[in-house]
């Protein structure tokens, strides 16, 4: 990792609070994403990981309730999703959300909806087919007929077609076989090395930290820990709670006392 002084803040979230109806989902979350890095948000089910991404994208109506979100120095909280996408953030939603009755090609074309540079779009098509060879073979097939892994590839490819500055990935490993997970993460790293900043939400802490520069751990709508990916991977609690690696075996086979707190 290069020295931190050269990094520039791309996304700055300050103290946002989000409600889903009456549910208090985010309880004051702050985070900044540095240009050119991969940042991973980890946490258990229901911790509010996806809610952070959805709030930033403006997908939850009238939220965030409090706090500010800045992208490249401009306030984006309260803006329409369509305008946020235009500023250069693409979001790969959880559960793929491809256009099922459009062909693979049409799906990708929709990804490039905001662009008019035909020659460049054609180049990007080639590049995406290079990243994801199975898509090329199914170019003219309805997206709904693809397998889960292929749909995930399509969903990522579609988001890339907009040439985002910042890419949000919401659980890209969900429902994929271990081999495919490996492959997808390799591609994510690859995309990042081509200059796209990535904010990743994952349950698979081991894989996520392996490719990330920074990591944050979310519990019950609050960050309880942040640091470089390397530090987090070394941390005893993270290893135990999120990676299932037990540092010391007790005679009875389970830990007999709680180390410190439970992150809240």
């Amino acid at each position: 990792m290069e020295s931190r002084t050269t990094l520039k803040t791309l996304l700055e979230i300050k103290n946002i609070e989000t409600f889903y109806g009456l549910i208090y989902a985010l309880r004051g979350v702050s985070l900044s994403v540095q240009s050119g890095t991969i940042t991973a948000i980890l946490g258990a089910n229901g911790a509010g990981k996806s809610t952070i991404l959805k709030t930033v994208m403006g997908l939850i109506e009238d939220q965030p309730d409090k706090g500010t979100i800045e992208f490249m120095g401009k306030r984006i909280d309260g803006k329409e999703t369509e305008d946020i996408v235009r500023m250069g953030i693409s979001y790969v939603p959880e559960g793929r959300e491809v256009f099922e009755e459009l062909t693979v090609k049409e799906n990708l074309l929709m990804g490039a909806y905001l662009r008019n540079d035909r020659a460049e779009i054609r180049k990007d098509f080639e590049q995406i087919y290079e990243h994801f060879p199975p898509l090329k073979a199914r170019e003219n097939q309805w997206a709904g007929t693809l397998s889960g892994g292929e749909q995930q590839m399509l969903s990522i490819g579609r988001a890339l077609m907009n040439r985002p500055t910042l890419l949000f990935l919401d659980e890209p490993s969900l429902g994929l076989s271990p081999i495919l997970v490996n492959e997808i993460f390799k591609i994510i790293k690859n995309i990042n090395s081509q200059g796209v900043t990535i904010l990743l939400v994952e349950q698979n802490a081991r894989m996520a930290l392996a490719i990330s520069d920074f990591g944050l751990i979310l519990e019950n709508g609050r960050f309880v820990m942040k640091g470089t990916a390397r530090d987090l991977m070394q941390d005893k609690d993270v290893r135990e709670f999120y990676m299932g690696i037990r540092s010391e075996e007790s005679a009875k086979g389970y830990q007999r006392w709680k180390r410190k707190k439970r992150w809240r």
Binding site: T81, S90, E97, V98, L109
Partner: protein, 291 residues
């Protein structure tokens, strides 16, 4: 034999105006899954305003008709923007009820402004001129309607299949959230859809008006157009057109050989039959979701 062929040909001719209404309804259904029951009355308003422009202000056809189409387009934009978009937490059923309300308001407005008595609309082609093909007669208006329906179908079909805007319309219907994530302004897409649909409906209205013109003139074609669209699977443009021909032909055959009184009911009998045998419609190519 000649009589039978004549019945078939007239059936297709009648079917052409149903086809136009069917196309108009399919376009809206394709982007929002809303069945627009105000389709006929939106066209009705455009047609009566054209009548006003022609009769009271004596504008020539080449001014009146294009401006009618332009008005229809704006009317579609306006209704979507001013009425449908205002619905809070919209769902499909609620939207359909709104269109029924719109239908009554528009119909009421036209009856109040122009009166319920039948009128005659001037038209460049007389509905009573006929072209003869051997021993078969078709009125020139019917021939025109036929050509217009097929042309519009082709244009719309190509538009939805190959243009970026057309694909964006389909994307909006299939997954609104994902469409917004692509930067598609879904509200604007819906507005455009309503505009185009209203335009197609208005075309149908203008072609029907020379033969029959009173505030109820669009109700029957609209229902038959809807029936045709259901027959075609509700999302298929060619499907709705062929559905319309089937309904037109069967209706005419039934009227000619069985009973003229129940002629109109036949369309709905066909729908029930089709829905029993092939519920997704004759032409729908619908992807069945894997769990």
């Amino acid at each position: 034999m000649g009589e039978l062929v004549q019945t078939l040909v007239s059936g297709i001719a009648v079917g052409s105006s149903y086809a136009l209404m069917g196309l108009a309804m399919v376009i809206i259904y394709k982007t929002s899954e809303v069945i627009n029951f105000a389709q006929g009355e939106m066209a009705l308003l455009s047609v009566f305003l054209t009548y006003m422009v022609l009769e009271y202000y004596h504008f020539p056809f080449y001014v009146a008709f294009p401006s009618a189409l332009a008005f229809a387009l704006l009317l579609g934009f306006f209704l979507e923007f001013a009425v449908l978009r205002r619905a809070k937490e919209p769902n499909v059923l609620g939207m359909i009820i709104i269109t029924i309300g719109l239908e009554m308001i528009l119909m009421g407005f036209v009856s109040w402004k122009f009166g319920a008595e039948p009128k005659t609309m001037r038209f460049p082609l007389s509905p009573y001129d006929s072209l003869s093909l051997g021993e078969i007669f078709v009125s020139s208006l019917e021939a025109l309607t036929f050509v217009v329906a097929l042309t519009l179908m082709t244009v719309l079909f190509l538009f939805l299949r190959y243009s970026k805007l057309g694909i964006a319309m389909k994307a909006t219907q299939q997954n609104k959230m994902a469409a917004r994530l692509m930067g598609i302004r879904t509200n604007r897409i819906l507005m455009i859809t309503w505009g185009i649909s209203s335009l197609v409906g208005c075309t149908a209205g203008l072609l029907i008006a020379p033969t029959i013109m009173q505030p109820y003139m669009m109700w029957d074609p609209m229902l038959k157009g809807f029936a045709a669209a259901v027959l075609g699977g509700m999302t298929s443009l060619p499907g709705s057109v062929f559905g319309a021909y089937i309904i037109g032909v069967v209706e005419n055959l039934f009227g000619g050989y069985v009973s003229i009184e129940f002629k109109s009911a036949v369309a709905f009998f066909i729908i029930v039959l089709v829905l029993c045998i092939k519920p997704s419609g004759l032409f729908a190519r619908h992807y069945v979701k894997k769990v």
